[in-house]
Symmetry: C2
Subunit: 571 residues, 2 copies
């Protein structure tokens, strides 16, 4: 049985960085060639980055991408990788429009191209805004093996390129992806890949990107399944990785295929001679999947690290309140950028408890980061006295003094400001615009409060397992949460217990469920009403909130787009 | 020749307000019936509002919309409008998905339905995210006349429903629209409507919404052209309006038509007896189009008024700097909400000039609004002293003190905060996040600085024509612009002259042109480079900026969606 040495390169491109991304493709292709691979596949749009959003409407950018891939073909040959078939995603355009494309580079030329057929236009995706749908099918004849291509969303549809490839008859389908991380998505992915492999009657090689791009994180998790749907290779998540596999393929699949309807099919021969017989060096390798908390944590670390680095920041600053949210953000920052990159500020007001100051200080000690204290009582008194502020106005001034101080430190010292709010707060509007909401990035904005606690406990336990200092002060995990904006305030004064609140929010925000359906789960009608109203009324706050890593099935932002002005009320 | 009395109801619905919007349809239908109309047409999605965004994914909302239109049919008959054919837009759903639909209500029932065929997915539109494409064609036989329907984007395509209606043969095509205002769009619209009428061989009745919805404003401008493409009726812009017209139609168009390919065609007879002969009472009426400045001004007034009112605000507050931007925002507010709804605050720092204080005071006097002065020098000194701030950090603290004060007044007194920044500033990042950028709405965020001046002069001249006090202090128009964040600062210290800057920005931001193409217009390469870099780097500021009325062909926000993280650089 012919044996193909296939390499899957899980790279971390940066949107718009054609030179840097091309260097990655060249680099990893060289490594694959050195290790004797016949074919190397990269993730979707590995040359342009994903998603490029309205850069796809910029003619200069699309043209530059198409030219860069041509040059890359030459560079690959010059680097001695000419015999290797390199499958790299890039942007192209023709009379029909802009294309989400994969090029096959071989012996210094682009020998084949595949355009994405199914263009996702839901959730975080807007591909029908940008791309024309491909209706071609370029099939590679590589040393007697028939290799088809499909791109990301094409995999999620039984019809289209995969059905066409089944009809045509192929031994292997290679699928570059830019599939953003969501909790539990990895399980769904494997099942889908396995099912499609069986349907298509071919092995499937699924290659995903890794790394963060604004609010998205790509988790890698690239995999190969055989034609029976059995997993034979799975790359680790969240790390750049080159996976090699000596894959036995029957060959001659084309002889079993018939004519293909609806797709212009081309067969491109890359090497007529059959693959030589060689001893297997790269057998099945299946990376251990991460546990639930480890996976979310890795996604958050990756999202924060890449947002900071890709935007030129080496350090961050934010307020240490002594509470659980800022503590978890501090631990994430230390894991993402190192403790030395973290500048914590305690900004106590007259309502700040003794424990909030000591917990903040303890956090800084445990993590080993920079820390200073800037009391805000005098500034707050100035605003309050000048305008005669009371109630909510007085509470918010405290948060806004802190926001102004943190931004001043950012301006003065060049740190990225983080907003440490969680998804539950953001859902119900329990935050102060231009106060605790200031920042360039919000690492846990898609993490519900109950999961924040769970992650804190998990991270501390991990540290203890490794014999390290647990980063988060136990008191920050255990004490009842409070914004400390008035004497003796606790979150539960105005909000239901977080365990209940998060379940209602999961139904309403992530599930898009209506009032009656939420009530059917047994919640108190008055409470559901109140929560829905809080969520609806806080839309304007969310609109101005910084971006942050998506980890749920529906994150605020491009995933959930609601009007600010809306009179619709559930219930 | 049969004569149809057609009514076009240019209403101002609120997104999500099914009850309020249904009451509008009922009310205006009653008026049309009282005046003897045979048919009344409303704008696109007049019952649901436009755009509903992700409310279209909420099953409860779509179901409620479909039920409400059924009830409306009954209510119309009970109100004595049963004989009137009412064409009202609403959301529906079936096995294919959610529909952007028009229902024809007649004698207490829904007698016909048309679903939008062409779903726009560019610019500010995301309709392929929400809607399934309609492939039916319901043609009304109303007293012997053949009346077809198409919805908004369908008009912009020669193929699809309009081509199908030409083949079928109709006397009249009725087209509900939700077409957002853009400068100069009205000219393009008339030419398009006239062309399509000639192509289709039928009169066209184009009915648009009016009013503001977040960053969009619908300008009305509803019109009817005859089958030769001559304008016979045109409604005024930006006002709710019921336009009646006795329209001569040849009749019997169906006899000239043939079979229609690709559309399921139904003919629905609403009244077999021919229209009686009656004397014309409603002849051609063509509203005088607004001049360019008046049109932009009306759009800005409408956008601000509806954002405030539809979100429950009766008053606004913002800083009066004495400069042109806050002056124009003040004049807009007075026109939109009344001078008594406006609360101006002068917040001088140590760098504020004498003229900036006196110009702010003069503005308040001219307009007759509320006004107070809150000096910020002591607060700024407190921040600066505590953290040892210098340079940009010190400049920004001044803006953020003002932001905090204005927000405190909003919290204390319940006003909507306006951000008075213009499009030029927003383009190059010449604003302070959480400082002058605070606010729930930014009335002139899509107005370039040069147009701000032009509007100021125009508004003052209009006042003088009417014998009123010009609202804007002449000195605010004439003095060189300055942020006054350091001694003697002027905008031109760090920016090119606004006349040049706005032309480069028109090319780069609105035109999406590349470096070489911009240079071809004769600009200095170094300057173009600098401007492009300023624009690219300010994306994170724009992302957190409040919404504001779109008046240009490409506004920041949903019209121009760029990644925050991007290494792509023109040049």
């Amino acid at each position: 049985m012919p044996k193909l040495r296939i390499a899957m390169a899980q790279t971390n491109p940066c949107v718009g960085d054609l030179e840097g991304n091309a260097a990655q493709v060249l680099d990893w292709s060289r490594k694959a060639a050195e290790r004797g691979a016949h074919l190397v596949v990269f993730g979707e749009l590995a040359l342009a980055g994903y998603p490029v959003e309205d850069l796809a409407l910029r003619e200069t950018f699309v043209t530059a991408s198409a030219r860069r891939i041509e040059r890359l073909a030459t560079e690959l040959e010059e680097a001695g990788c000419g015999e290797l078939a390199v499958l790299a995603g890039y942007l192209d355009s023709d009379a029909e429009g802009v294309r989400n494309a994969v090029a096959v580079l071989h012996r210094g030329a682009i020998v084949a191209r595949q355009f994405k057929h199914h263009l996702p236009n839901y959730g975080v995706f807007d591909e029908r805004r940008y791309f024309a749908k491909g209706t071609g099918l370029d099939i590679l004849r590589l040393h007697g093996l028939e290799i088809g291509m499909a791109i990301c969303e094409d995999l999620w549809h039984a019809g289209g390129p995969l059905a066409a490839l089944r009809e045509a008859g192929v031994d292997l389908v290679v699928i570059p992806n830019a599939s953003p991380y969501e909790r539990n998505k990895d399980d769904a992915r494997f099942e889908l890949v396995a099912r499609r492999a069986r349907e298509t009657g071919a092995a499937l090689a699924y290659c995903n990107l890794v790394g963060g791009q604004d609010d998205l994180v790509f988790d890698g998790d690239s995999m190969i399944v055989d034609a029976e749907g059995s997993l034979v290779s799975r790359a680790p998540q969240f790390v750049e990785h080159l996976q090699l596999l000596d894959l036995d393929l029957p060959g001659g699949a084309a002889r079993t295929g018939g004519p293909v309807a609806g797709f212009e099919t081309r067969r491109i021969t890359l090497g007529a001679e059959p693959l030589p017989d060689y001893p297997s060096e790269h057998g099945p390798f299946i990376a251990e999947p991460l546990g639930d908390e480890a996976e979310v944590w890795s996604a958050l670390v990756t999202g924060l690290r890449d947002y900071a680095h890709k935007n030129g920041f080496r350090s961050v600053v934010f307020g240490f309140s002594g509470g659980i949210d800022s503590s978890v953000c501090a631990a994430l920052t230390a894991d993402a950028l190192g403790a030395d990159a973290l500048h914590g500020v305690s900004m106590p007001s007259v309502y700040s408890s003794e424990h909030s100051r000591s917990d903040a200080e303890e956090l800084a000690e445990r993590i080993g980061c920079h820390f200073r204290t800037v009391p805000i009582a005098a500034m707050v008194a100035d605003y309050v006295g000048t305008l005669g502020l009371t109630g909510l106005a007085e509470e918010n001034v405290q948060a806004r003094c802190r926001g102004t101080l943190v931004m001043a430190l950012s301006n003065q010292e060049g740190h990225l400001v983080l907003a440490p709010g969680n998804k539950t707060e953001l859902s119900v509007g329990y935050s102060t615009m231009y106060g605790d909401a200031v920042g360039g990035f919000a690492p846990i904005k898609d993490v519900p409060k109950t999961l924040v606690w769970q992650l804190a406990k998990w991270r501390n336990a991990e540290a203890e397992k490794r014999g390290e200092t647990a980063p988060i002060p136990p008191n920050s995990i255990e004490k009842p949460p409070s914004a400390e904006l008035r004497p003796g305030q606790q979150d539960t004064d105005s909000l239901p217990p977080y365990e209940v609140l998060d379940r209602i929010l999961a139904d309403y925000v992530e599930g898009d469920r209506g009032y009656a359906e939420i009530l059917a789960a047994g919640f108190d009608p008055e409470l559901v009403n109140k929560v829905i109203r809080l969520v609806d009324r806080a839309e304007y706050k969310r609109r101005q909130y910084p971006p942050g890593t998506k980890v749920s099935a529906k994150a605020f932002g491009r995933d959930r787009r609601l009007p600010l002005t809306s009179a619709w009320r559930e219930g």
